[in-house]
Amino acid sequence: MKKVYAFETKCLGCGLCEVYCRTAHSKFKDVVKAHNRDNVISAIVIENIFRQSKPISYFVLQCRHCLSPRCVKACISGAMHKDEQGIVHNDKKRCVGCLSCVSVCPFGAIKKSRDCKTISKCDLCVGYGEPLCVKNCPNDAIKLLDENEVEVALK
């Protein structure tokens, strides 16, 4: 299964992935409208690594689509589920925003939505071909890789 992997050595912490993530998950497919008229939040976490309160490095974090996802098991409504391909989805229609998934995600990669009624997580932009964060990363720091490609990338 292909997953999104982020390379800390390449990440600039610019935040463009978040901009395009928001756009991808907005009902407006235009960047400006998605931000100015829609309330969606990105499904990406950008973290700074600080030394003496100065950020020296960055990485982005999306849902890891775990083999045995704790979030799915903690979900009380069945909204969080893993599909045949192994992608962990959250069905917004069924999500009650209880944050059980947030409470158990070891990566802290699930975010509460702005209206607190549901959550936001990476769905690999199914339907877009390539996830928009991957496509729009200016430094190729985010890649969509299958298991074999991961092996290569790690070498």
């Binding site: 600039l12 935040g15 978040e18 901009v19 400006v32 430094n139 190729d140």
Partner: protein, 501 residues
């Protein structure tokens, strides 16, 4: 001094309707031009810090940013231009030498743009490089007076060492220190893939890059930083740098803040110490001294590496070149006054040296007249901007060209002329880890490969148009050139006829 006369050079114009407060610009500008105001949820700008590097403009996802010339005018005055006034403000505040980066920006004539190429019509038909063989390969190095063969046709003459280039283009000397490790790696990888060479500059060569040795020219300059036997043997050729087009007669200065662990090890100097290259080589005061250095280097490398000598294009370039050839150099590199640099005193950059086109023509002419043109290859540098500049250079007598500015532009340089600050937002002329990261060699080396491949293709097209099927056949063929908008003297120095003649 509390009162500063500084005024912004650029104005950052933000289209508030398109700005989504994503703060990509805030995070990407190392000069802190942009800042986010949480209270009002707006992104603000401080124009005075802007150097117009376009980083924010390029990354802005909504194209909400434009950078303009700051509209504040001084009273119009042809003599006292705003620039002249601002320079005085600056110097009267700092008491320092004005520093600039990149090449001479002044409105001196650009002779490449006043020379036109020929094409075949009817007789000596043109050649289509897509259908017929077209050779752009060249060999750099000393060529024998004549070749001897045995009866079977086997070459008897011992050939001096040569550097083979798939196309007559090399990446100019840019030291690891002046440019980032990732920029250096991009150049090395691109040169390797292209079958051309890049040049270490005077920063030594990090051992991680020894694997690109076959495509590396190692430089020996007045500071002798990072020079040792292994280094000299690591490349395919050695270049002695006497002068640089952007600052003839001036040494180099890498500020201590750019000398981190890695640069320090490579240059063999303490971390944080300024790396100062003296103006002259303190062991070279004559052609004979130069000869001694050339042969010391050849001796060290068992005469297996050609030795280049690089000079800035100055008034007596032709005579100097003749001396260099006689001193035993295998190639002369001449760097014109538009050649780039990380930092040079502004006055020197803008007022010293001569255009490369004139220096090239003069040197080639002189060496031919003296009958020693075969003894050394002639490489020119100093603002080669495109493939037609290269074709014209070859027709004026060059074997190959060095490109520096064009290469860094391919790597993302937006010619903001602030390399010397070390805050290159594109990760090229910087050692800040956070900025170096921005230049991903995996992406950028391909851009260099693309650029040179494209130029090579264009060179083939132009050669074909002239009915020539090998670039070697164009070298020094000034009949293929005509001048336009040039006076008699210029035509004479260039050795070309006027258009229509």
């Amino acid at each position: 001094m509390s009162l500063s006369f500084d005024i912004p050079v650029f104005e950052v114009v933000r289209n508030e309707k398109r700005c989504i407060q994503c703060q990509v610009c805030v995070r990407q500008c190392f000069n802190s031009v942009h800042s986010y105001d949480e209270d009002d949820n707006v992104v603000c700008t401080d124009d005075i810090k802007c150097v117009n590097c376009h980083r924010c403009v390029t990354l802005c996802p909504t194209r909400a940013l434009i950078i303009k010339k700051y509209p504040l005018e001084f009273r119009e005055n042809t003599n006292w231009t705003s620039n002249a006034i601002k320079e005085i403000y600056k110097q009267s505040q700092t008491g320092g030498v004005l520093l600039s980066s990149m090449g001479n920006p002044k409105a001196f004539p650009i002779y490449w743009d006043k020379i036109l190429l020929n094409a075949s019509q009817v007789t000596n038909p043109s050649i289509d490089p897509l259908r017929e063989p077209m050779e752009t390969k060249i060999m750099i190095g000393r060529k024998p007076e004549k070749l001897d063969f045995d009866v079977k046709g086997k070459l008897l003459t011992e050939m001096p060492p040569q550097v083979e280039l798939s196309t007559p283009i090399m990446f100019s000397a840019m030291s690891y220190g002046s440019i980032s490790r990732n920029a250096h790696e991009s150049l090395a990888r691109a040169a390797t893939e292209l079958g051309i060479c890049y040049n270490t500059g005077e920063g030594g060569l990090n051992r991680d890059f020894y694997k690109y040795g076959k495509n590396t020219i190692v430089q020996v300059a007045s500071g002798r930083f990072g020079v040792h036997k292994e280094y000299l043997s690591a490349g395919i050729a050695i270049e002695i740098k006497i002068g640089q087009g952007a600052k003839p007669g001036i040494g180099g200065h890498l500020p201590g803040k750019k000398v981190g662990e890695d640069v320090s090890a490579t240059r063999m100097i303490p971390v944080g110490s300024d790396a100062i290259s003296p103006a002259p080589h303190h062991d070279i005061y004559s052609i004979e001294d130069l000869r001694q250095l050339i042969f010391s280097l050849k001796e060290t490398t068992s005469y297996k590496k050609p030795v280049f000598v690089k000079i800035a294009a100055v008034h007596n370039a032709a005579a100097i070149a003749s001396g260099i050839v006689r001193a035993g150099a295998d190639a002369i590199v001449v760097d014109g006054f538009r050649g780039g640099t990380g930092a040079a005193p502004t006055r020197v950059r803008d007022n010293v040296g001569i255009p490369i086109e004139l220096a090239l023509a003069a040197i080639d002419q002189r060496l031919v007249e003296e009958g020693i043109r075969n003894q050394a290859s002639l490489i020119v540098a100093g603002s080669i901007r495109n493939s037609s500049d290269i074709v014209k250079a070859v027709a004026l007598g060059a074997d190959a060209v060095y490109v520096g500015s064009a290469a860094v532009i391919a790597l993302g340089c937006h010619m903001c002329h602030t390399c010397s600050t070390g805050k290159c937002n594109w990760g090229i002329a910087t050692q800040e880890p956070e900025l170096v990261k921005r230049l991903n060699p995996d992406i950028m080396y391909k851009r260099l490969v693309n650029l040179v491949s494209a130029w090579n293709h264009e060179i083939q097209e132009m050669l074909g148009g002239m009915g020539i099927n090998a670039i070697e056949s164009l070298r020094g063929n000034r009949l293929m050139l005509r001048g336009i908008d040039l006076n008699e003297k210029e035509l004479k120095v260039l050795g070309i006829k006027y258009a229509g003649e």
